[in-house]
Point group: C2
């Protein structure tokens, strides 16, 4: 199996952009290639793996070839991977395999989403289809509702509180203040987040991520090529993935995502690390409770202790045990669905190269990305390191 490394990474700012999807994607690719130490042109890559839900659905098909063409990669084999909000997490996994198999030397993995050109009704519809349709969406359950059920059940089983979620929100907003690419950059006090407008009880506005436009891309290379391009490659040490039942009622528990646990254990096994080796993690906090569950499911804390972990500030950048969402996370950095997984990898790339500026995690050696689709129906987890093993 060929070793694989990230040698470049870039993204657009996340937010509400007037730019077209293709322009955002081209910007992310430009930024990505500009970050590569050596010489590499987009046209010379072997493959493109693009994650996108093509939100808004269908003004454009054949999206991968279309976007490859518009970023200087016409002719390069390209495919779109759609796994709801985990689309580019899976793109990362499959791009990795293309190189690990020996078929490709250099691939572009990225994602893009243009969410803010739809009406609120259409947005709700397009978000809803990533959950269970037959038992949940058509009965009126939206994603805030789905995660609210998980939050309420966690409180019931483990005594966590809404204040625990508020700690997560405040932390991620604070982290995003240092991230020029973040969608929401504002100082949010505990009092403000604790008294937000209720969206789906117990979740408030401050528990929910925004709907963002954005694009992100990384370049992966085989070990030989990576070492020629840079002295500081960021190695992909482990990849794990899993699926789960779409509908909550088909799962044995509402307070753990089986797909996260399975994906994480695969990624840890492959990389030979445990959760305690992680210096930073970018987790899929589409809602604050999703981060709470992720800290448990990834093994950063014991089952049931996610609330305590948050309350004790264990995820605070350079203060807690492990930096959790040092970028601001989905909550504050933003969540352009298909771009999110690739954007997490961009953050880890910058952190492990020491290029994260004011939000730099000290002595960052090992990082993890956790990208979830739907309410946990799909998950991809990747472990990255400054050293190859």
């Amino acid at each position: 199996m060929v070793d694989v490394a990230m040698v470049g990474a870039g993204q657009t700012p996340y937010g509400t952009h007037p730019a077209a999807m293709k322009d955002m994607w081209a910007d992310a690719v430009r930024s990505c290639f500009a970050s590569i130490d050596g010489d590499l042109a987009p046209a010379s890559v072997d493959e493109v793996f693009l994650g996108s839900t093509a939100f808004g659905g269908g003004q454009l098909g054949n999206t991968a070839a279309y976007l490859a063409e518009h970023a200087g990669m016409a002719g390069v084999p390209a495919r779109r991977i759609e796994n709801a909000c985990a689309s580019s997490g899976f793109a990362l996994r499959d791009g990795w395999a293309a190189i690990a198999s020996g078929r490709a030397d250099v691939v572009v993995v990225g994602g893009v989403e243009k969410m803010n050109d739809l009406t609120p009704e259409r947005k709700r519809y397009w978000l809803g289809v990533s959950g269970d349709t037959e038992w949940e969406r058509l009965a009126g359950l939206t994603f805030p509702g789905t995660y609210a059920l998980m939050a309420r059940r966690h409180m019931h089983e483990h005594g966590s509180t809404h204040d625990d979620l508020v700690h997560i929100s405040v932390k991620n907003h604070a982290h995003a203040l240092d991230n020029p690419d973040a969608h929401l950059r504002k100082d949010v006090s505990f009092e403000k987040a604790a008294s937000g407008m209720v969206i789906a009880d117990p979740l408030t506005l401050y528990d929910c991520c925004p709907t963002s436009d954005g694009a992100a891309a990384v370049v992966l290379a085989s070990a030989d090529v990576a070492r020629k391009l840079t002295d500081t490659p960021v190695w992909m040490r482990g990849s794990g993935a899993a699926s789960d039942h779409l509908a909550l009622h088909d799962r044995p528990s509402l307070t753990t995502l089986a797909a996260t646990r399975s994906a994480a254990s695969q990624a840890y096994a492959q990389s030979g690390i445990t959760a305690s080796d992680l210096d930073l993690v970018e987790v899929h906090d589409c809602f604050t409770v999703a981060e709470l569950l992720a800290t448990e499911d990834l093994g950063l804390t014991e089952r049931g202790q996610g609330g305590v972990f948050a309350r004790d500030g264990e995820g605070r950048r350079n203060e807690g045990r492990t930096t959790v969402n040092g970028s601001g996370g989905l909550k504050a950095k933003g969540h352009p669905l298909g771009a999110t997984g690739a954007g997490q990898a961009v953050e880890v790339f910058k952190q492990l190269r020491g290029d994260a500026g004011p939000r730099q995690v000290r002595d960052a050696e090992v990082g993890l990305t956790h990208n979830v689709g739907g309410s946990g129906a799909t998950c991809a987890v990747h472990v990255f390191g400054r050293s190859v093993e």
Copy 2:
């Protein structure tokens, strides 16, 4: 690089089905696993690669996890790959890489499409988005129109005639008579096909494939696992893929698909064969002229000689030089977009195992699948053999 083989393959009949997408998919998976000589359960596979355009767009997202669950593979990592009509051709390519990398031992690759629950207007829209939107679709150019331009130009440059296309139509309809899974099973005479209703001059109804519902699936395994499961694996000997500009006006020629030529040359190089070694090919004849171009672009005949190849019956099953679309092809077997590439692999599996019944190609040792997205913006070509090299 680990050698990879198909060990099972199955599909639904193509046509207009009352069944839901998930039921068609489950049927295809059942049929696929029933074809495996040894014992293997869907739940025990390592990954699922599902090709689908999710035609109709968006009643369901997170399609891969949803369909994995409904076919006994809940928990298995699954992703949807969308590359217009080449979706499952690329799923095959990425499923192959998952095994070749050593990450997976057994994967399911398949595709599904439910086209016939939309109104004709919505169908036209959803088909149209796979071509160029800005310069073609929004100007009123549909796929029959796109391929009509290619046909007209080929006639101008190379002296081919509409009668040459009629030969292709008649051949594929004749082939489909022996295929119980074919959408259109009827004896079509030369006179009938030559006098069809004009759809986009010079193409008539008999030059166009139908819009089909259907699903197809294959199981790929690493060499070690494949040999335990069966004495007659069908080896994947080569995989090639490419993209191209979406809009015709950006391409140097209308009478060759650069993506096909590139994908084919990669697949030939990897497998160590040339076009003359092929006993059968399943090519992407969404329109008869697409088959004509494919016979040239795959090297079955010289550039410009596709009309002569058709006229001389060189693609007729067990009569011509190489059997072209012995299944009936997209023209008569049918074209359920995302399922088509996987369905082509199902046909090659049956042929190379000698299980194709009345449509068996004699002494079939080496076969090829050719799966195109849009009007040639994406293409995946695979070479299969009864022997591993």
